[in-house]
């Protein structure tokens, strides 16, 4: 579904992503791990179209999306969340979701008046569904900035679903979460996978990664150094040297 070939990104003299090859198949959950600065977030930004690539190619469902702008990649069906939560803090929970109702199907079902003024019934239904998914229905009129951290994360995830994406790019969704919250997130991601959404996950929290990822790619200094199932990656000496650590894997890590 998503094919990345020889993707490269330079920032001045720094090579953030170095000839990366990666494939994500439909229905998979693929995780991208690696030390800080290894180019994981940059890769997500490149796929989403935040900045242009210096080389290589990204294609999605056969279409070349290498230098497409963010709102167009969304139209293609790719949505993302941010590492540092970027909610519209001055808007309410409901408005955050409402602003994001930009799926092509929703747009087609609304004429100009409906779209910009009151919003169509379809859009409102969609918002209600996302509120339910995020468990935030009672807080719909609360300003996003006033939510608790865990609630904000749930809202951001729900907001990314607003445009009916087929591929979800999640940038460290579990950062700062307690073990309970990570387990809940695991459950929500499985639900999404059940709905047929493909997920590419950038993460440091191994409890989540090892538990949910079907396949893991490991980056270091912008280059892919390993790829495989969780068990394979955990056992790989190169990966352990670079990132996971050479101590024995913990019970939580081996649960995948």
């Amino acid at each position: 579904m998503l094919e990345i070939q020889a993707l490269t990104k330079n920032f001045g003299g720094v090579v953030a992503v170095d000839a990366l090859d990666l494939t994500v198949n439909e229905g998979e959950i693929v995780a991208l791990i690696g030390p800080n600065g290894s180019g994981k977030s940059t890769t997500v930004n490149l796929i989403a179209g935040i900045f242009p690539a210096s080389g290589g190619r990204i294609s999605f469902k056969g279409r070349d999306i290498t230098d497409t702008q963010p709102h167009r990649t969304l139209e293609c069906g790719i949505a993302r969340t941010f590492q540092n939560i970027r909610l519209f803090n001055e808007l309410t929970v409901w408005q955050n979701l409402w602003v994001a109702q930009n799926a092509p199907e929703t747009r087609k079902s609304e004429n100009f008046v409906k779209r910009w003024m009151s919003g169509s019934a379809a859009a409102r239904r969609s918002v209600e569904e996302e509120l339910a998914f995020a468990n935030l229905a009672e807080k719909r009129d609360e300003l996003a900035g006033n939510l608790a951290f865990g609630e904000q994360r749930r809202l951001e995830l729900a907001r990314s679903l607003a445009a009916n994406p087929s591929l979800l790019l999640l940038d460290e969704p579990a950062a700062g979460m307690s073990l309970e919250e990570v387990k809940a997130l695991d459950g929500r991601l499985r639900t999404l996978q059940g709905r047929g959404i493909t997920i590419l996950l950038v993460e440091h929290v191994m409890e989540l990664v090892m538990g949910i990822a079907g396949r893991i790619a490991v980056l270091n200094f912008g280059r892919k150094i390993a790829e495989g199932t969780p068990a394979e990656v955990q056992a790989d000496p190169v990966v352990r040297e670079a990132y996971l650590g050479t101590a024995e894997p913990t019970a939580a890590g081996a649960a995948g």
Binding site: R86, N96, V99, A163
Partner: protein, 386 residues
């Protein structure tokens, strides 16, 4: 009452100008171009009613539409840049518009006189209102009605999905883009809407002043345009209205007896207002306790009563005061403001007492701040371990 009709017209027109900036400011762009769109509306509509003999209402729409069209076209290149660059670009645009009208002459012979804009001389004889028998009161009502319609429109925009999208773009345009909002379309649309509103305001302006020239539409007016929504608060249209009443009513007209010192006080009050209420009047009002809100309302009511009581009553009061104090140079229009302040002070006697009580703590805090600002060293040298 002439004075109050004139003030109402001024407040109406300036509120519309402020609202034109309000819409654009919501998307996070500081626009100094609103005076330019205001000018376009003023000149175009003036020409339509004076030279082409149109009625003011269609001229209002066309003046607004022309300004909106120019805004949409100018918006595309201008909105490629952000922040300060956009400010400078819009300053330059506003100046370019002003210089255009400075050099623009188009005159038509009508009977014994030539009418039309005449470059540096300006555009005189925009006489739609007088020629059609509109009284001061008619004009005031018309302008306030248009202002109310514009306010209603913007208020409703705030509550619609479009408004939420505007504010989302203003808050975090990258996140907005990432959830599928087309930034260029939104920003250009906001700019065009702002242009339309400014054009409408300009139409009313040129018709009630009957004589406009390029210098009216310079950087100073552009500054007023953004000052109103910023001082009033960007989350509520009533904030802009309050700021206009405060700035135009209180400062420009009510304190006329201060003469030349008025502008100085204006600058000073802006600085104070921004330090005290950086998020605008509305946010301060929201934080007011019911106690204080009652007093604000009470003072406003007394002012209105005095206005309606009319000039005679006020003159009686002034005569009485002057009988005691001698010639104070006060006029009818000062009385209302003085009454407002006196009532506020009187009702807030307890507020005064509280202020006195809080004074020592306030002074302590102030001196701590000053000490911090002046003392200390920029880079503290590490202390040697004891």
């Amino acid at each position: 009452m002439q004075f109050w009709y004139g003030l109402a017209q001024l407040i109406g027109v300036h509120t519309i100008l402020g609202l034109s900036a309000y819409v654009v400011l919501q998307t996070g762009q500081v626009t100094m171009a609103q005076a330019g769109f205001f000018a376009i509306g003023a000149y175009v509509s003036g020409m339509l009613t004076t030279i082409a003999g149109w009625h003011i209402v269609p001229a209002l729409f066309i003046g607004g539409a022309t300004a909106a069209a120019v805004a949409a076209i100018a918006g595309f290149p201008a909105l490629r840049v952000k922040g300060l660059m956009f400010v400078v670009a819009t300053i330059a645009f506003g100046e370019a518009v002003r210089l255009f009208w400075f050099n623009f002459t188009y005159q038509v012979q009508q009977g014994a006189v030539k009418v039309g804009p005449q470059g540096g001389e300006g555009f005189k004889q925009i006489r739609f209102f007088p020629a059609n028998g509109w009284t001061d009161l008619d004009r005031a009502i018309f302008i306030l009605a248009v202002m109310a319609i514009v306010m209603a429109g913007v208020w409703w925009l705030d509550r619609s999905r479009a408004g939420a999208v505007l504010r989302a773009v203003g808050e975090d345009d990258l996140a907005a883009q990432s959830v599928g909002v087309n930034l260029t379309a939104v920003k250009v649309s906001a700019f065009a809407i702002g242009g339309f509103i400014a054009g409408v305001g300009g139409t009313l302006y040129s018709h009630y002043t009957t004589h406009i020239e390029h210098a009216n539409f310079g950087v100073v007016l552009a500054t007023f345009a953004i000052a109103y929504p910023i001082v009033g608060g960007l989350h509520n249209v009533f904030g802009t209205l309050a700021a206009v009443i405060f700035i135009q009513g209180f400062l420009v007209e009510g304190l006329r007896f201060l003469g030349d010192w008025r502008n100085l006080l204006f600058g000073f009050l802006i600085v104070v207002a921004m330090n005290v209420s950086p998020r605008g009047f509305v946010s301060v009002y929201r934080d007011l306790s019911p106690y204080w809100r009652r007093r604000v309302y009470g003072g406003a009511i007394v002012t209105v009563v005095l206005v309606l009581a009319g000039e005679t009553a006020a003159n009686e009061i002034v005569a009485a005061v002057e009988g005691v104090l001698g010639n104070t140079g006060l006029e009818y229009n000062h009385m209302a403001w003085i009454a407002f302040i006196v009532v506020m002070a009187g009702w807030s006697w307890s507020g005064l007492a509280a202020a006195v009580r809080l004074l020592p703590a306030g002074l302590r805090r102030l001196s701590a701040l000053l000490r911090d600002a002046v003392g200390g060293s920029a880079v503290r040298r590490p202390r040697k371990a004891a």
